[in-house]
């Protein structure tokens, strides 16, 4: 520490004079002294050191604080804006006060851009509110003038309030200038708050220039200032004095005394500002005091359209209207009383009716509840009916789908009935039967069938059966599209079937190999019977020993042969074969055989004149020696028969 050096300096001058032996003692004294100092002022020295350190630390600490201060403020703002504002308010207020006291212009300059618009806005808002209020008041008022002005406002597009103001305004002084007569400089200026004026300095100067111009151009020698300049609905009034002019821009017609007031103002300015005007060299500040004089000239007067006479007329009109209203009121009251009585009676009747209606309503309510219940029930029934209908429809479609020869094209509903459109083969299933089998009443189905031909094998077989009409014992069957017949049938059917079967729709071929022709079989049976028959001859005689029984038997068999051959459509030849005995040889054998056959033939032809039989004599080369007589004969003198089928016959054999 620096302080510790001082006592050492104080002790130093004694040391050179002391001897070497004194050094130890001196050192001891110094220690003692230090000890004494420590005991006496040790705490103060320590405290002093601390203070010095604090002073030295102050500057860097301020730098540190300055560094973190913005962040600290940000942090405080983020945490609690209000608290920081409260803390800073007294300091900021104090600083502002000091700043204003020290230099008001600084703050004014800062606030100028803010104050100007704010003041203008406040004034505009205030004026707009006033105009609006005025407008509303006017809108609610009705008078002949207001109607006229309303029309004018509509025609010119101006606000109604503005039109009214213009018409009711007798006059309004919009601006007043105090102008230095010689230089034309504006010494002071006042204006109505409702107008916007140009720079008074420029306007004053130009006014003065114009005034000079007019005076120079049209004046007669002596200076004769302008007193009035009219432009549009405004008039510039000028009151001139030796040193100043007072110019007022007036809208409308001011009262006659206004020019007097202006002249008085000019005089007052001359009186009040005589010295300033005399010494005027451009300094206008002293004339600020003239503002009051000018403001007194800012005057306006709104018209009072209702004169006393008009008010009287208005009162008379109002009184008449009131009397009229009274008379009308009395009449209306009497009428109302009468109507009231009638209405009361009507109301009583209505209450009565209402009671009855209530009863009806109550019954109606019960009926409605019942109706609703029935409706619900009917809904169930309808649901069930719908379900049944759907099921019926499903079954019908399924059945029709499997039924042969029926094809459903479309199915729909018509109330409780089913509408069905489809194709039907006449040889197919019976639709009504199919419906019944499916559990559907044919009566609820309205079917519209279009005919068609099905090639289903079962339908083709049915169709074949219908066309061919097979006899008992004959069966028809389909093998693919081939119609196969089997069993027995007469020859005529067989022939017809062979002709018709191939023409049946769905039949590509016809087979009847398995069919036995009954007529052919019968022909063969008759032929066999005839072959077993013979005609006997006496020995050596060419004439047959034939009795009536033989003759009848022969006739019958020949008729049968004829008939069966006709039915079987066969041509049959009956051959006659003559036989002789060995004893008769020598008597012209061949001739005898011939003669005997011819005799039988003749006999047969007598018996039958059929067309399908013809008889042929065949020479029988009998081996007489080995021949044996037929059954029922004991000799060989006979003629027998052989029936030969010669093929298919024709119509005339």
């Amino acid at each position: 520490m620096a302080d510790s050096e001082t006592p050492r300096d104080d002790a130093t001058p004694a040391e050179p004079e002391a001897g070497r032996g004194d050094e130890a003692r001196s050192s001891e004294d110094r220690r003692d002294l230090q000890e004494v100092r420590r005991l006496l002022v040790g705490d103060e020295i320590k405290r002093l050191g601390q203070l010095e350190q604090e002073v030295e630390d102050l500057v860097p600490r301020a730098v540190d604080v300055g560094r973190i201060l913005p962040d600290a403020i940000d942090a405080a703002n983020a945490e609690d804006t209000a608290r920081l504002g409260e803390s800073l308010t007294p300091a900021v207020e104090g600083a502002l006060h000091r700043s204003v006291r020290k230099n008001p212009r600084a703050l004014a300059d800062v606030l100028f851009p803010v104050l100007g618009p704010a003041i203008r806005k406040a004034i505009q808002t205030s004026l707009a509110g006033m105009i609006e209020s005025f407008n509303r008041t006017l809108e609610n008022s009705v008078s002949p003038s207001s109607l006229k002005w309303r029309l004018e406002a509509r025609r010119t597009g101006r606000p109604f309030a503005e039109v009214v103001l213009l018409h009711t305004l007798v006059y309004r002084v919009e601006q007043v200038f105090l102008i230095h007569a010689e230089s034309g400089l504006a010494l002071a200026h006042a204006q109505s708050p409702t107008i916007t004026a140009e720079d008074p300095d420029l306007v004053s100067a130009m006014l003065k220039a114009l005034e000079d111009f007019a005076s120079d151009s049209f004046g007669e020698g002596e200076r004769d200032p302008i007193q009035q300049v009219a432009f549009g609905d405004k008039v510039l009034h000028v009151a001139a004095g030796p040193k100043v002019l007072v110019a007022a821009v007036v809208r409308g017609n001011p009262p006659p005394d206004y020019s007097v007031r202006m002249a008085e103002a000019v005089e007052r300015v001359h009186t009040d500002f005589g010295d300033e005007l005399e010494e005027f060299s451009g300094e206008t500040a002293p004339f600020d005091r003239a503002d009051d004089v000018l403001a007194a000239l800012l005057d306006e007067k709104i018209a009072r359209p209702k004169s006393a006479k008009l008010i009287m007329v208005v009162w008379v009109v109002i009184t008449l209207i009131a009397l009229g209203l009274l008379a009308w009121g009395v009449t209306a009251f009497i009428t109302w009383r009468m109507d009231e009585r009638d209405r009361r009676n009507a109301q009583e009747q209505q209450v009565k009716d209402l009671g009855e209606n209530f009863g009806v309503l109550s019954n109606l309510s019960q009926s409605m509840e019942q109706a609703i219940a029935e409706l619900a029930a009917s809904q169930d029934v309808r649901d069930q009916a719908l379900a049944a209908k759907a099921e019926r429809r499903r079954r019908l479609i399924a059945a029709m789908h499997t039924a042969p020869g029926l094809m459903v094209m479309e199915i729909g509903d018509d109330g409780d009935r089913l509408l069905l459109t489809g194709l039907r083969d006449p040889d197919g299933a019976d639709p009504d039967q199919v419906m019944r089998d499916a559990g559907v009443d044919p009566a609820v189905v309205e079917a519209l069938w279009q005919p068609f031909m099905s090639f289903e094998p079962s339908i083709v077989l049915t169709r074949s059966g219908r066309v061919l009409d097979p006899p008992d014992g004959l069966d028809l069957a389909m093998r693919g599209d081939v119609l196969v017949a089997s069993g027995t049938a007469d020859h005529a059917w067989i022939i017809r079937a062979r002709l018709l079967a191939p023409t049946i729709a769905g039949v590509s071929a016809y087979e009847d190999d398995g069919v036995t022709d009954l007529d052919v079989a019968a022909l063969q049976a008759v032929a066999a019977r005839m072959a077993a028959m013979h005609v006997s001859f006496p020995p050596g005689s060419p004439e047959p020993a034939i009795d009536d029984d033989v003759r009848m038997a022969l006739s019958a068999v020949i008729d049968e042969l004829e008939a069966t051959a006709g039915r079987a459509d066969r041509l049959v030849r009956v051959e006659l074969r003559g036989h002789i005995e060995s004893q008769e040889i020598g008597h012209g054998v061949l001739d005898l055989k011939q003669r005997r056959c011819e005799a039988v033939k003749h006999e047969l032809e007598l018996l039958h004149e059929g067309v399908r039989l013809f008889f042929v004599v065949v020479e029988q080369q009998d081996d007489v020696a080995g021949a044996t007589p037929p059954a029922g004969l004991d000799h060989l003198r006979f003629v027998d028969f052989a029936v030969i089928d010669t093929g298919a016959g024709g119509d005339d054999g």
Binding site: H180, A181, E182, S183, G184, L185, A186, E198, D199, D201, L202, A205, M206, A209, L210, D212, F213, S215, D216, S281, G282, E283, T284, A285
Partner: protein
């Protein structure tokens, strides 16, 4: 201190008075006033010696053989700007003549002679010795160019200073 000074712009026809004023201020009036009533008033606020002053400039129609300046426009002037066209020597004479007439009307008010169209050096007609001799008589003379703006501000500052100190 708030002062208003009337300053008259005087000079021959077409020396550039209106152009100089237009360079210096923004007008609200039409130039037609110059031809109808012979004057147009403009204004500009200036700061002189720490005070604010308004220069009300009377731009008076130029004078020639046919048109003479209305003296009533000059009355009350606190200062005059006498404008000459440097490319027309005779306009300087007109300016000096007008200066004399002004003195008679309004007294020895501050006056500055402006030699305008200084940008047209090739056509310059004025003799430097003549100008020097005028300056030696105590006249304030400045070269201006309404075209380039050179010297315009200085000219108005000079007249404002002169009036303020008067």
């Amino acid at each position: 201190m708030t002062a208003r000074y009337k300053v008259c712009m005087l000079g021959a026809f077409a020396v550039g008075k209106t152009s100089l004023v237009r360079r210096y201020v923004h007008s609200i009036f039409s130039d037609k006033y110059l031809t109808t009533v012979g004057v147009k008033v403009e204004k500009r606020d200036v700061t002189v010696g720490g005070d604010t002053a308004s220069l009300v400039l009377w731009d008076i129609q130029g004078e020639d053989d046919l048109v003479s300046i209305r003296e009533s426009y000059i009355r009350g002037a606190h200062g005059v700007l006498l404008v000459a066209d440097g490319t027309r020597k005779e306009t300087l004479d007109k300016a000096l003549e007008l200066h004399e007439r002004t003195r008679k009307l309004v007294g020895p008010v501050p006056a500055v002679i402006l030699l305008n169209k200084s940008d047209l050096t090739a056509e310059w007609e004025l003799d430097d010795d003549h100008i020097a001799s005028l300056e030696s008589e105590g006249r304030a003379i400045l070269r201006t160019s309404a075209q380039t703006g050179a010297g315009v501000g200085e000219a108005f500052d000079a007249i404002a200073r002169g009036m303020h100190e008067a």
